[in-house]
C-alpha cells in the first residue's frame, strides 16, 4: 500500500508552502504528491512561482507528482487555469469533472476525492475514459470501497488522514465571518493555516471553514481501519497536509503500513499536531462520520 500527499487545502504564505514541499521531497516516505490549488483560485498567484521548483525537487526525489484542478470551477479565469493545467504535461487530478473537458480523449488522469464516485458504473466509466487512479469520496463505507476495489477497474485510494472535505460553496465563509464579500476578502483565510473552527452554541466542536470550503472539525484518521482497507484491496492512503508535524505523520503511516508501529501508538503520537485535536473515522462503518472507533 502506498501513500499520497493530497493537495494542500489551506492558504499558507509562499515561504511556508515552499518549505513544506521541500521537506516532503527530502524526508517524507510517500510515493505520490498532488500539488496545486484546490479551493480558491485567488490564492494561487501568491505561491505559483514556487510550483516548478517543487515539482523538480519532488520528481528528483522519486515522487510521482500530479496537479489538482480546482474543486469548483465557475469563472472564465478558472476555466483557463484548468486548460493550462492540462498543458503542463503532468498527471492531472480531476476534482471538478469539468476538468475532463480539457483533457484530450485517452489522456491519462487521476480522480480526486471531490468527484462523486459511488459505484461500479461510475468507476468503470472513468477508467474507460483514461483514469489511472481514483481517490474515493471520504463519505463511502468500507463495504462500498471493497465493492469498488474488487472491480479492479483502476487502483483505488482512500482518505486516510486530515480534516474531511465535507462541502464546497460559491460563498466564502471566511470573508463572511469578517463581514466582507468574497471579492474583497483580503485573504483572511491565511490567518487559519488548518481551517477556522466552528462550534455549536453549546461549545461542541462541530465543523471548520476554509474559504469556500467546509471541513470536519475532527481530523479523520483511518489508521485503525488499515487491516480492513488492506482486505478490501485499497491501493493507497491519502494524507492531507496540515501545518504542523506533517513529515513525521507521513513516517508514522509508513511505519504503520510496514508493521513497525500499531494504530493506537500512531493515534497517540500524532494527536498533538492533528487539526481539531480529536479524531473521527465514522464514515468507514456507515455511522455518522464524526464518530471515532479508536481509543485516543
Amino acid at each position: 500500500m502506498d501513500l499520497t500527499v493530497g493537495p494542500n487545502q489551506f492558504f499558507w504564505d509562499a515561504a511556508q508552502w515552499r518549505d513544506f514541499y521541500a521537506r516532503i521531497a527530502d524526508e517524507a516516505p510517500v510515493q505520490r504528491v498532488v500539488l496545486g490549488e484546490l479551493i480558491c483560485s485567488k490564492r494561487l498567484p501568491f505561491y505559483q512561482t514556487h510550483i516548478p521548483e517543487a515539482i523538480a525537487r519532488l520528481t528528483a526525489a522519486g515522487k510521482q507528482v500530479a496537479m489538482t484542478s480546482l474543486a469548483l470551477i465557475t469563472l472564465k479565469r478558472e476555466r483557463k487555469l484548468t486548460a493550462e493545467l492540462v498543458d503542463m504535461g503532468l498527471e492531472v487530478e480531476v476534482n471538478d469533472l469539468s476538468a475532463l473537458a480539457h483533457l484530450p480523449p485517452g489522456a491519462a488522469f487521476s480522480v480526486g476525492p471531490l468527484v462523486n464516485v459511488y459505484n461500479e458504473g461510475t468507476l468503470r466509466w472513468l477508467a474507460g475514459r483514461g483514469a489511472t487512479r481514483v481517490c474515493l469520496p471520504p463519505e463511502l463505507t468500507l463495504a462500498s470501497v471493497g465493492v469498488l476495489a474488487a472491480t479492479q477497474a483502476v487502483p483505488v485510494e482512500v482518505w486516510g488522514w486530515g480534516r474531511l472535505p465535507l462541502a464546497i460553496s460559491g460563498r466564502c465563509y471566511h470573508a463572511r465571518l469578517h463581514d466582507r464579500a468574497k471579492d474583497s476578502c483580503q485573504f483572511v483565510c491565511a490567518e487559519d493555516p488548518d481551517g477556522r473552527d466552528v462550534d455549536t452554541l453549546d461549545g461542541q466542536a462541530f465543523l471548520a471553514v476554509n474559504g469556500v470550503q467546509t471541513l470536519s472539525a475532527r481530523c479523520a484518521n483511518l489508521a485503525p481501519n488499515l487491516p480492513a482497507l488492506r482486505r478490501a484491496g485499497v491501493a493507497g492512503l491519502r494524507l492531507s497536509p496540515q501545518s504542523q508535524g506533517f513529515v513525521d505523520l507521513c513516517q508514522m503511516f509508513r511505519d504503520l503500513i510496514d508493521g513497525r508501529i500499531e494504530a493506537g501508538a500512531l493515534a497517540e503520537r500524532a494527536l498533538p499536531d492533528a487539526p481539531g485535536g480529536a479524531y473521527c473515522d465514522g464514515f468507514s462503518g456507515g455511522a455518522a462520520g464524526v464518530t471515532w472507533s479508536g481509543r485516543v
Binding site: T74, A101, N116, A143, F283, A288, G289
Partner: protein
C-alpha cells in the same frame, strides 16, 4: 419559460397541474431520489397514473432519479430508470455518471436532464455532459449569479433550468456530506439531509435547543418559533463571532429576478418543495404562473403574494446576486 413544479404525492401532482404547472417533477418511493422522506413519493402504479393525468392536462412529468447509486446495488437505480420510461415519463433527472452512461446506452430515446445534484457549474462541465451522455437540459447549481448564467447560456447548446423558490442549499448540491458527517445519512447516498430521525428538541435553561445528531443547531426562547435544525442554517460560534456562519434560516425567492432570468436565456424555472403540502404547491404554482405570464406579456410582476410561504418569513435571492458570496 416553463414552470417546473414539485410533486411529493399524487395529490400534489394533480394540484400542481391544476394550478398551471408546465411540468412536474417527482420520484419513486425509495432511495433513488433526493427527497426520500417517509410518506412521500410515488409507487410504480401512482407514477403511471400521475403521468396520464399530467399528459391529459397538457403538462409533462420529469422523474428525479438523482441520488448516487450505492456500490453493489446499481440494479435498483437501473430499474427506476426503466420504470420511469414504462410509466411514460417525459424525462429523467439524473446526477450520477454511471447512471447517465447506463441510461444513454440502454434507453437512448429517454430524454435526460442533468440534476442539480451533479453541480455542473460552468459551460465546460455542461458541454461535457451533453457530449458524453446526450443530456438535453441542465439544472444549474445555486452558486451562480444571473450574469454568469447568461454567459453560460451563450456557450452551450442545451437548455438550462434554475431554482426560483423554496429551500436553498448554501453548498454546491451533490457535493456536500455535512449531513452524513453528523447523522450518517446524506443527500447523495440516502436522499435525505438533516433527517427528522436525528432531530431532538430539548428544553434547557429556559430555552429550546434544536439538535441534530446531538449537536445544537439553534437555541431560541422557549416560546419563540423554533426553526427546523437544518445543519447549514444554524447559529454557531467561530472565534469571537456568533451567528449564522453559513446561511440565515432563509429560503430562496427569486421572483423579482424572473425578467432577468428570461433575458439570460433560461428555459425553465424550478420550484423546490416535494416535501410540501398540496395547498402550498397550488399557491406557489399559481403565483409563479401569473408572474411568468406577466413577464412574457411585458407587464410588471404582480405584487408578491409569497412572503407568507417562505421559511421563517425570510427570503433571499441567494447566489443570483453577487453580494451573496
Amino acid at each position: 419559460m416553463e414552470l417546473i413544479c414539485p410533486a411529493g404525492t399524487p395529490a400534489a401532482l394533480r394540484a400542481a397541474v391544476d394550478a398551471g404547472a408546465h411540468a412536474v417533477y417527482c420520484g419513486f418511493a425509495d432511495e433513488t431520489n433526493a427527497r426520500n422522506f417517509p410518506g412521500l413519493n410515488f409507487s410504480r402504479t401512482e407514477m403511471a397514473a400521475g403521468v396520464a393525468y399530467a399528459h391529459a392536462h397538457g403538462a409533462k412529468v420529469l422523474v428525479a432519479i438523482n441520488t448516487f447509486p450505492r456500490a453493489g446495488s446499481e440494479p435498483l437505480w437501473h430499474r427506476a430508470v426503466a420504470d420511469a420510461k414504462t410509466a411514460g415519463a417525459d424525462a429523467v433527472i439524473l446526477a450520477d455518471l454511471g447512471l447517465l452512461a447506463h441510461t444513454a446506452e440502454h434507453h437512448p430515446d429517454l430524454r435526460r436532464h442533468l440534476s442539480v445534484q451533479a453541480a455542473a457549474a460552468n459551460p465546460d462541465a455542461i458541454n461535457f455532459y451533453a457530449e458524453a451522455f446526450g443530456v438535453r437540459r441542465v439544472v444549474l447549481p445555486r452558486v451562480l449569479t444571473v450574469a454568469e448564467i447568461t454567459a453560460i447560456n451563450r456557450e452551450i447548446d442545451v437548455e438550462t433550468e434554475v431554482f426560483v423558490f423554496g429551500g436553498l442549499c448554501v453548498m454546491a448540491e451533490g457535493r456536500c456530506s455535512l449531513s452524513s458527517y453528523i447523522t450518517g445519512k446524506s443527500p447523495n447516498m440516502n436522499g435525505v439531509c438533516s433527517p427528522p430521525s436525528h432531530v431532538e428538541y430539548a428544553e434547557e435553561r429556559g430555552e429550546l435547543a434544536a439538535k441534530l445528531g446531538g449537536y445544537t443547531i439553534h437555541r431560541n426562547a422557549k416560546d419563540a418559533p423554533a426553526p427546523y435544525p437544518t445543519l447549514c442554517k444554524g447559529c454557531f460560534t467561530s472565534g469571537e463571532r456568533t451567528g449564522y456562519v453559513f446561511e440565515d434560516p432563509a429560503s430562496l425567492d427569486a421572483t423579482d429576478l424572473i425578467p432577468a432570468l428570461a433575458k439570460s436565456g433560461v428555459t425553465a424555472l424550478k420550484i423546490e418543495g416535494r416535501q410540501r403540502s398540496r395547498a402550498y404547491v397550488a399557491k406557489v404554482v399559481r403565483s409563479f404562473r401569473a408572474a411568468v405570464e406577466a413577464v412574457e406579456a411585458g407587464r410588471p410582476l404582480p405584487p408578491g403574494a409569497l412572503a407568507s410561504l417562505t421559511e421563517g418569513q425570510q427570503a433571499t435571492a441567494g447566489a443570483y446576486r453577487k453580494t451573496w458570496r
